[in-house]
Amino acid sequence: MGPLRARLRAAYYTRMYAFTPCAAGCGRPVLSSSSTCALHSADPTAEADRFAAFIADRIVVKDLNAAALSFNSVDFSNRKFFGCSFSSSTFSLCLFTGAFLRMCFFDFCVFDGCDFSGSDVQFSTYGGSTFRNCTFEGSELVHVNFNGVTIAECTFNDSNLYNSRFISSRISSTDFIDCNIKKTFFVKSRQERVSFKSSNTAEAIFDLEPSQ
């Protein structure tokens, strides 16, 4: 069995963060170790700092809900995240180099100037997020949901994007050079100045079949 095939067969588990509704009654889940969601938190900046300190102390982070917070220059590199939610959060100049993510939720986030190079992301979602000036060079991005994303001036060079989806995305000034894009969906993706040089575009999916 080749290394790629072995990686694909890799299975993993997560507990998923427990759903406890916000004390303010908004129906959103509470932040981990808190009684409210970020929107009803008295001090969301302090909550973000608390999570940054929590993550800095650990190599493995499981079942964390840190949704709708703002992270500036936080180092997430070489950490392992399982079943965590950062939905609707903002990440500015954050480091995710060598990060290992499984079943993590980054939907509707904003990433500005973040570095994901060498990261290993599988079975996770970035749906509806915005990426500006980010790099994913040399990353494993397998089974990752990038649907509805806006990507500008980013690079995915030398990455494995097997079975990932960029459906209804807007991609500009971005390179996918020498990537594995087998079974990667770019259906209804608007692209400007995008390079797929040396990538296996014949194995990617750019159009829906009539019945879909």
Binding site: R5, A11, Y13, S87, F108, G127, N145, N147, G148
Partner: protein
């Protein structure tokens, strides 16, 4: 709840195993369910055994071989009840589920939504805030259908039964990456295409009459 994900190379489908965190109040083993056993090998069996789970049930989203290929092997190893939208799955007897059913399986309450279109027996299961959508709804797409009628029925069912649920629900599809309902509401190209085709058909019928 523990969730175990396994990518089946047979048919490139997703298999999920959901296990209880704690032992039942009356004692005994923690219980577990499997959704869509697309293949059954030592990794899945190892996960069940390592966690000392009492595997009780198999939930089948639809009877297509790439989602049930491991069912026979599974039934040889464990005494499980199979739940599906069809009384026979992979030539094995199954307990029929229908739209609106609620199954109480250990500490898991499983809600059933019938979403025909991709196949007549397609169902979506809800456990807590997780939706196991099979092929009916995957990230950015809906299930392929054999006819325009099927597509229309499927889209209507997805809109009325699935997309009406809270946006932070996690969708765990039969193929491809996970997603959230809010992402699907805003960015599902398959639903958009079905809606467009429906509008074109309506205009065509109006023109004729």
């Amino acid at each position: 709840m523990k969730l175990f994900f396994y990518y089946c190379l047979y048919g490139f489908s997703n298999c999920y195993l959901i296990g209880e965190d704690e032992e039942p109040a009356g004692g005994g083993k923690r219980r577990a369910l499997i959704v869509d056993p697309g293949s059954m090998d030592e990794k899945i069996v190892g996960f069940i055994e390592d966690n000392d789970y009492d595997l009780r049930a198999v939930l089948v989203t639809h009877d297509h071989m790439n989602h049930v290929h491991g069912l026979r092997t599974l039934k040889r190893i464990y005494d499980v009840e199979v739940f599906a939208g069809d009384p026979t799955v992979c030539e094995e007897r199954a307990t029929l589920v229908k739209d609106g059913d609620r199954l109480e399986l250990g500490s898991f309450a499983v809600d059933v939504f019938s979403v025909p279109g991709h196949s007549s027996d397609s169902v979506v299961y809800r456990i807590d805030r997780l939706l196991f959508s099979g092929d009916a709804l995957t990230a950015g797409l809906v299930g392929t259908t054999a006819s325009a009628y099927g597509r229309s029925v499927q889209s209507a069912a997805i809109r009325s039964k699935i997309l009406s649920l809270p946006g932070d629900y996690t969708v765990l599809p039969g193929h491809g990456p996970p997603t959230t309902l809010e992402t699907e509401r805003r960015h599902n190209a398959g639903l958009e295409a079905a809606e467009k085709a429906g509008a074109q058909r309506a205009a065509f019928v109006r023109d004729i009459w």
